[in-house]
């Protein structure tokens, strides 16, 4: 049967249990999420964002995430591009103030097209940051990170339970689909309208199961002695074994503080000096030169 490579189930798929990401504390990984997926907001210069995308892809590769999982997002990248550039082409705004480019039998306007490009790079950079996080973290990691940051127990519990229940509903969803196939449903031969109808068949059982589950889980929580405040009765404190299991070491603090600091620095620089403005982009200079030469 060969060596079975055991993988950990993350929110978006599987990652080998020995992925180097697991050498870092969940808090550090959450800091990475903030850095990669919020920083681009303050960066207009497309080169920087493209660089961040490359870094993220590099991290995905380094973290041994299966590339099939990432490839699922390819169609999305294309449709988002079509949408953004399409809008810029069809509705460019006040044409008289813009620079026209005539090409392949149509008139484009430089400014909206360039702006679409800038926004697209920023959006994709932010998305890849989130994809990286969800591909390499389990629900438990999010829970540990929240607890280590001192988030109130009830909040961290709701966050973790909602991620977990999303996982359960995905499983339910798969089973329902299997059950439909078992009764002769052929997904490939369905029209769009019929596919839309399918959602109804998924949603009703999903909600009914959710109702049952809410009752069951709240009974189970009561049975395990959980109170809304999270405090055991008769004084005393709720203990936190999980957090004690994942001590945040000096290196983890350094990584987390470094990433959040880098984020803050970029944000500050962007607002005060405009160093990440798209007007400073070398690529823009090249394109503007090409447009002028025509």
């Amino acid at each position: 049967m060969g060596e079975a490579q055991i993988a950990k189930k993350t929110l978006l798929g599987m990652v080998p249990a020995d992925s180097p990401f697991y050498r870092f504390h969940p808090v550090g990984r959450m800091a990475l999420l903030i850095f990669l997926s919020v920083t681009p907001l303050f960066i207009d210069m497309p080169e920087v964002n493209l660089g961040l995308i490359l870094v993220t892809l590099g991290l995905l590769w380094w973290g041994r995430v299966r590339m099939q999982q990432v490839r699922r997002y390819l169609p999305l990248l294309v449709t988002v591009a079509i949408f953004m550039f399409g809008v810029a082409f069809l509705a460019p705004g006040n044409r008289t103030a813009l620079t026209p480019i005539r090409s392949v039998g149509a008139t484009f306007y430089f400014e909206p097209m360039w702006w679409a490009f800038v926004s697209y790079c920023r959006l994709i950079a932010m998305l890849f940051g989130a994809i990286l996080y969800f591909s390499t973290n389990r629900e438990r990691d999010t829970l540990v990170a929240l607890r280590s940051l001192g988030v109130p127990f009830a909040v961290s519990y709701v966050a973790a339970l909602s991620l977990r229940s999303a996982g359960m509903f995905m499983e339910d969803f798969k089973t329902i689909r299997e059950a439909q196939q078992a009764r002769g449903l052929d997904l490939e031969s369905l029209s769009v309208v019929e596919k839309a109808k399918l959602y109804t068949m998924y949603t009703v059982p999903l909600f009914a199961v959710a109702l049952r589950r809410a009752d069951e889980i709240s009974n189970a929580l009561f049975a395990k002695g959980y109170t809304l405040s999270g405090r055991p009765a008769g004084g005393g404190r709720r203990t936190d074994y999980l957090r004690a299991q994942y001590p945040v070491r000096a290196r983890d603090w350094a990584v987390s503080v470094g990433l959040v600091g880098a984020f803050a620095l970029v944000a500050a620089l962007s607002k005060t000096t405009g160093v990440f403005s798209d007007h400073l982009s070398p690529l823009r200079a090249v394109v503007v030169g090409m447009v002028a030469a025509r």
């Binding site: 189970a220 049975a223 109170t227 074994y241």
Partner: protein
Amino acid sequence: MRLAVEVERFSWRCPFAQRDALREVSLAIPAGEFTLVVGPNEAGKTTLMLAIKGIIPHSLAGRHDGTVRVFGEPVAQKNAAVLARQVGYVFGDPDAQFTALTVEEEILFGLENVGVPTSEIGARIRRASELTMISDLLDKPPYDISGGEKQRVAIASVLAMDPEILILDEPTSMIDPLGKDLIVDICGSLKRDRRMTVIVVEHNVEAFAPLADRVVLVRDGRIEREGAPRTFFDDVESLIDCGVYPPQVTQVFARLQRRGLYAGPLPLTDEEGVAAGTRLLQGAGRWR
């Protein structure tokens, strides 16, 4: 004798229900006793257990009458954390009881809730998971393992809390036969070594009857019959009518008794049955 559980004329009705799920039920269970609860589905077995655990009336809305006491104090006046230390509850549906993301968290969740110090939690997890043979599952999500494993995880998470009373609602419904033996052995050792008060609701009577000090039949929201296992199963046919399947060995000898081939107490275990049968066949001069 110290009573662990006293149920006094307890009635219960769910909202929107047409009739009471429990009707003036009374039951007293001494500390350290092993009780087996049997009866058809929807007869009120689980409802009775929920009332002892205090989920009724704390966590389920409805109308109730009468009182349930645990160690002399009404459960309605105890809060969740106190009850969690006194009464452990393993739910019937293994999917219905998980509250955490991994098996390990499942076990430690209750321990954190009642404030067990972190230094002690590791040892408790280890002990409970070794006892139920789930040590290799600690890192997995509880919804990603097989039904039988789920049931063992549920039992481990309750055992780790070290309760004085343990309620198990159909703990072996999804477990393979030898896995069932493991659960039965655990229950046996809890009774023997830890003097724990154990209440088991089961359709699989064969495995638990030999351990039980007393068997209780719940039917139609009432306790219809109650007694020591040796006498409880005497009337095999009427039990089968109630949806209860007595141990096969007991059935065999009850039938032989009626045919006039056997006289004596009805056996409950393999060993007793083998011995009784051997005597019977030897008596008939048939043992070669």
